[in-house]
């Protein structure tokens, strides 16, 4: 039932707004005449409705959620409760520096910690999501080439395993996209890369470890090839969790990076955002950082804006990005500390390699069996799809019945019938063993009663949807009188 279907004309949550309408002198030509259509419900009705809705969600707090490339790790509660202290929530973004030193100190220290863990020369916290960080990064590459009068560079190279945001970002920055194939081992095809680079190359966008769940072993050679052609190297930080404290993008030769603080630094995914896509840059890109950035002058902190960074790639938001997300990331990093950072990568990698090994022993096919898994890995169900007519989608849906959120399905696009599985460091061995048992049970079902798997899920609030009809005749809002 929708909230609108709970409504009764004349009902109100009376404690939440002024009881009567103040006298105002709003001229008629500006005034609203039509209803807003907001629901008329009591406070308890609203609370009960949204509590019940929440119970229809899988989440990290309720379920193992091994969604590859999304790093669904535990979100410590302290990060939330401290970010919601009144002094944090009530600070206006335009508050004067005299009333901002606590917040600015925190942001400055966050910038410094992110520089340290990535090996970059400077950081800007303002991008509001990974995709906006990518945009900022590619726009900085553009600003760099433009400032040198190097205007012929028109192409961004993107491996075929990349996230869809990579090519979409390059287009938004006015570049053409050229795809680079992956070799059989899961590394970038070096010969294809050598053939693709040239005076038209503005840069290469690379995720490392890649979305195939393996570390790009030839990274130093790739950096050399791109740099010798005059291009810059962009690091998509989607998989930073895998290498935190083990190897730094700055030391791999990357010129510009974005980090997904909602992945590596455990801020909540919130049903799809808010994220944070802070960017880091090498020395030569410092002038182009998106504004604002926090600076320290002696004991006081201040914003760097247009006046300080006149060559900035620009502003990306009305204020300074998703501050509340940044506060949570800061608290998480402080609680991990120096020793805790590399442990994240170590145990994320241990869990992934253990889970991959167990699934292979149980008869599943790894996409890259000869490689180490990073913090995630790919199982391909090509054999099951062919022999048993049970697909990756069927496995994903059946996992829901077993109480596990499905891994990422059908991404990356170059591995058929794939499940991209990322257990993260915060899961216990028992939980991972339980997931293996579920996969084994589903494989058994696929052999003996395949229709049970093909028609899953059976225990969710809904069965599988007719998404084709939904897209053909979109129903995007409720209408009164339905």
């Amino acid at each position: 039932m929708l909230i609108f279907e709970h409504a009764t004309p004349g009902r109100r949550a009376t404690a939440q707004a002024p009881a009567t309408m103040a006298d105002i002198d709003l001229p008629k030509r500006f005034a609203r005449k039509s209803p807003t259509g907001l629901p008329e419900v009591s406070e308890m009705q609203a609370v009960r409705h949204y509590t019940r809705l929440s119970q229809k969600n899988f989440s990290i707090d309720t379920h193992f959620y091994p969604l590859g490339s999304c790093t669904m790790k535990y979100n410590p509660r302290a990060c939330n409760s401290l970010a919601m202290l009144p002094g944090m929530l009530n600070r206006h973004p335009h508050a004067p520096l005299s009333h901002s030193q606590g917040f600015l100190q925190m942001m400055y220290e966050l910038q410094e910690m992110l520089k340290e863990v990535t090996g970059m020369a400077g950081v800007s916290l303002t991008p509001m999501a990974g995709a906006q960080g990518e945009f900022a990064g590619i726009a900085m590459i553009r600003a760099y080439h433009d400032s040198r009068g190097d205007a012929e560079r028109s192409e961004i190279l993107v491996p075929d395993a990349a996230h869809g945001t990579n090519p979409a970002t390059a287009i938004m920055c006015g570049y053409k996209v050229r795809e680079i194939p992956t070799d059989e081992q899961g590394d970038v095809d070096l010969d294809a890369l050598k053939a693709a680079v040239g005076p038209q190359t503005a840069g290469l966008m690379l995720t490392n470890p890649s979305t195939l769940g393996v570390f790009e072993r030839n990274i130093m050679e790739i950096a050399r090839i791109v740099h010798e052609a005059g291009g810059l190297l962009y690091y998509d930080g989607a998989n930073l969790n895998a290498i935190l404290g083990k190897v730094r993008p700055g030391d791999m030769g990357f010129d510009v990076i974005h980090m997904n603080l909602h992945k590596t630094f455990s801020t909540p995914h919130g049903g799809g955002g808010p994220g944070s896509g802070a960017v880091g840059v090498a020395e030569r890109l410092m002038p182009y950082r998106p504004i604002p950035v926090v600076a320290r002058d002696g004991d006081t902190y201040r914003w760097l804006t247009e006046d300080d960074l006149p060559d900035s790639m620009g502003r990306l938001s009305a204020f300074a990005g998703n501050a509340g997300v940044l506060i949570r990331a800061y608290i998480y990093m402080r609680m991990l500390g120096k020793a805790g950072m590399p442990r994240i990568a170590e145990f994320a990698t241990l869990n992934a390699n253990y889970l991959e090994k167990r699934l292979v022993e149980a008869g599943f096919d790894a996409a890259f069996p000869q490689r180490r898994a990073s913090h995630e890995f790919i199982i391909t169900l090509q054999k099951e799809a062919k022999e048993l007519k049970v697909t990756a989608m069927d496995f994903a849906k059946r996992l829901l019945d077993f109480g596990f959120h499905a891994p990422t399905t059908y991404f990356p696009l170059l591995v058929p019938e794939c499940l991209l599985i990322e257990p993260t460091e915060s899961e216990t061995k028992e939980e991972i063993d339980g997931f293996v048992a579920a996969m084994v049970a589903i494989l058994e079902e696929a052999r003996n009663e395949p229709d049970t798997v093909r028609s899953a899920p059976h225990t969710m609030p809904n069965r599988r949807f007719d998404e084709v009809s939904a897209a053909r005749k979109p129903d995007l809002r409720w209408r009164p009188g339905e």
Binding site: N57, M172, P290
Partner: protein, 450 residues
Amino acid sequence: MPFIPHTPEEIEQMLATIGADDIETLFDEIPANIRCQSLDGIPPAASEMEIAREVQAMADRDAGALNFIGAGAYEHHIPAAVWQLTTRGEFYTAYTPYQAEASQGTLQLIYEYQTMMTGLTGMDVSNASLYDGASALGEAILMAVRVHRKSKSRKILVPASLHPNYRKAAETIVKHQGIELVELPIDPQTGRIDPTALEQYSGEDITALAIPQPNFYGVLEEADELTAWAEQNNTLVIGVVNPFALGLLKPPGEWGENGADVVCGDGQPLGAPLSSGGPYYGILCCKQAHVRQMPGRIVGRAVDADGKKGFVLTLQAREQHIRRSKATSNICTNQGLVVTASTIHMALLGPVGLRNAAALSMANTRKLVEKAAAIGIAPRFSGEYFHEVALQLGQPAAGVLERMAANNVLGGYDLGQVNPSMADSILVCATETKTDADIDRFIDTLQAAL
């Protein structure tokens, strides 16, 4: 080990299964010469108790002032239930609803949000949100260019009365795609878009006109007349609204003859705390005909294998994970958690609550203006305003605001930051959260600072 549950025995068992001697072996594909040795710039781990003490001290340093700054971020009462429900783990720690059957809570909530936002704006369709109001303006401009294929100029009229940071962010987002943002000046008397300046563009190929309502100076634009001009000129209208004000103001879907084509704005005033500027969320609504050019997630109602209704992400052929380089935008996530809060907030306010809160905000700002008149301070512009107003102080505003802040009153936004000719003016907002005593304190503090 913070947030890592493994016991030494389990580590041994897991390594034995893998066939590795130690955890370090698992990293043997990374070239040794680039391995990181030590992160000396990171402080040692703090316990929850230790970090709580530090963060509390930082929060306390910034707290305690009485705030009259608006300028795009507005202080409103947020019902206690809003964030208590929003931070339930089932909302807080879920992700984008890729598995619809296990995400009906988030999906239904977004469908309800889309319904509420189309109702408020009077538009046909809403997406599931963008990042914030400023970046939503950038996306709205890109969308208008895609929609209006007959217009070849790719020129967008962006008034000087629009939030300066919105204009800057929009410029950042659209500038690589051959789009020109043309500044439309304001009438220095009224504080509105100068109608004679607009008239100069009649007959010219202009792709879209952005209309802020209320505008950055708090003044109400003549949205009907501006929309009528656009309709005559075959120019699309992008409405940039404060959704809180729509409890009282004519919705953009009803401007002019046919309404705005695309509407954007910041959802912050509906349930998001000030929080140093974010996370907020961007509103994006449009006419039905434009829906396939819309960026971002959209939720639709669908039917399942049993014929039962439910909700799914839909029209995904627009998006980057399907279309890659041909997508409408690179946007991936929305601002799900803030939209969750905002939807609950709108349900708790209801139509009467939203209207009354908006009316009280407007009345409070009038009260402040009347009391300012008694100490010789008048509004800078003659145009009618909603809940925010520019006051002319007759001396540099920066110094006045600094002296007020020293008395823990944040007296407003220094308009000299936008335009040096307004360095003697401040932008002030008194929402429903301000009592008569608060307004008196503002006036007393202002008088002392003059």
